[in-house]
Symmetry: C2
Amino acid sequence: MPVLDYALLLDPPAFPAERYAILADRLAALMGTGNDVLLMQAEAVLALEAAATSLARPGLRALNIVTSPYGAWFGGWLARGGATVRNLTASPAKPVTLEEVERALDEGPGFDLLALVHAESASGILNPLPAIAALARQRGIVTLVDAVASIGGHAFEVDRLGIDIAVIGPQKALAGPAGVSAISVSEKAWELLSHGDAPANSMLSLLDQKKLWLDAGRGVLPGTPAPLEFYALEAALDRIEAEGLASANERHERAAAATRNGIRALGIPTWVEEAHASALVSTAILPDTVEAKAFLVAASQKQGADLSAGVGPGAERLIRLNHTGRRAHPEAVKANIAAFSSALKSLGHAADTDSALEATEKAYSDAPANGV
Amino acid sequence: MPVLDYALLLDPPAFPAERYAILADRLAALMGTGNDVLLMQAEAVLALEAAATSLARPGLRALNIVTSPYGAWFGGWLARGGATVRNLTASPAKPVTLEEVERALDEGPGFDLLALVHAESASGILNPLPAIAALARQRGIVTLVDAVASIGGHAFEVDRLGIDIAVIGPQKALAGPAGVSAISVSEKAWELLSHGDAPANSMLSLLDQKKLWLDAGRGVLPGTPAPLEFYALEAALDRIEAEGLASANERHERAAAATRNGIRALGIPTWVEEAHASALVSTAILPDTVEAKAFLVAASQKQGADLSAGVGPGAERLIRLNHTGRRAHPEAVKANIAAFSSALKSLGHAADTDSALEATEKAYSDAPANGV
């Protein structure tokens, strides 16, 4: 892989004003939506904080699904702005169930907003988004979905699912830059966002973006846009459009299946049941005899692998195998499995690397995943 | 100039964890400070909003100097968080005077915080920072200075001036990336920032940066850092250190002197008296017979020039000639003067381009500015 001369990063020309709208349209196509798409000039957590801060007001009633620390922060941002927040917290490091959501909606109070994360990188879980979104839609509740990790790795179609606010970032499954993100906003969501307590003159204001960019004809963005991020986003979209979003999703599903085949061939249980496992990251449960920290140190010495500890309550004893973005390829998947096996062995646990790699291969030689 | 293949912007390796602290130390050296330096992961306006939001609490009394829309926003962010804000607004598009500041401080109430912008790109003015900072220091008031535009263009030494919070960005006089910025924080400022109403789990929280980065040993930054911005910041620091900060300041002063020579040779008055003129941008007052919009259209057709309208109250009838960063070079200065002259002529106003360019040249052949 050629190494970039970083001095080349100096003095890029300003990103052409007329191409911001084109970027937003390309992102809208990727998200499958006719809704407005805003470009946010920072990593996606700013977009999430901006959405929560812009929605929050006294009197807003929100059902906030918590399946990782991100969900907890989201509820905190809503509450900070005076909203009444019911946090529906799933079992540690597990997805929420449709039944839990239904029960919470039945109990009320009548909610204005339902927020959840699609796929969690922290634990490798996939929440049952289509069913939850359908439920919220039936009941006329505005939905907000954090699809930062899932876009490009899982089917995520905003209009088909009827999602009012969707937050995405290019830096995960799309393998793009980390310093820019995007939010789609439906008409119904704009109504909820247009209230007297909404922030203005703020990096956290969606109404600022509406007034200063959307309503002003979608020219140059307000503030000082970072050209590197926008050129990189453009290049990332070129690449993902050339591959096709369905192929990218399939590539992730295949990498996930291969990873889990390999893990199980090592006699190691995976954490999440198949129907609720994310295609981005797989999680494995270490044997009791193996200490997690020592395991990660041993694994980190293996070239090309990307293994890490889980994040948040319930995830501490899990090992995450990352197969997101550029890592959703056979060589990265196999490097992960080989490192996992080798680290187990170095800590005195029996492991057969060859069989594990064969099991991994099998997912690639089997019939195409999902009939693609 | 070679054109960057933007596909090269894809897939940079993660910025090495151990180099964030080195970057902060290099920025501290550039700012002339032994204070803590935080790296903020967005354009500098986020750093400013974060500082204001982190300081703001009911009971905080702030004297906020307003010499452009940025200052007005800053006061608004403080007030949003419950602070008692006295805005000291200078005459339109003019610097504040030391006397005005002294009077405001005398009138009280006893202020906890004094905030101002060093040099204003919006109008080309330079506030009398050293004298104001000395005054605040005498009275034990915490100072916050927006030096986003001035760092690299004007002498700006945090510890020598005794500035408690300084906000800088690399994208102006340092000619670096726009998607990252920095804040220096003194011990006294940390005391003021450590209060019960401070935001947490927020992109706007300085205490988060303290807890999650400074106190944690300055490894990888919290969140998802954008590698392109940090590699570009490193390259920008390489370049500015190779030139030397004093030379960069001198380059800006020379460009400013040359620009104003050229403008005056055209018979056009400059807006700001010399002692209070920024070295970043010069402002000229159009003759009454020349319509500003038509002038800017005519000027924009000239290659290599960067002329624009002033920003904010009082600045509408001003034309800004930008000589910041890479534009602080003779060829860019001359392109500005030539475009100014040519636009005047095309609108029926007499102008002698050759004499103006000669006057511009003269600033470069004269004895070195500032005895450098």
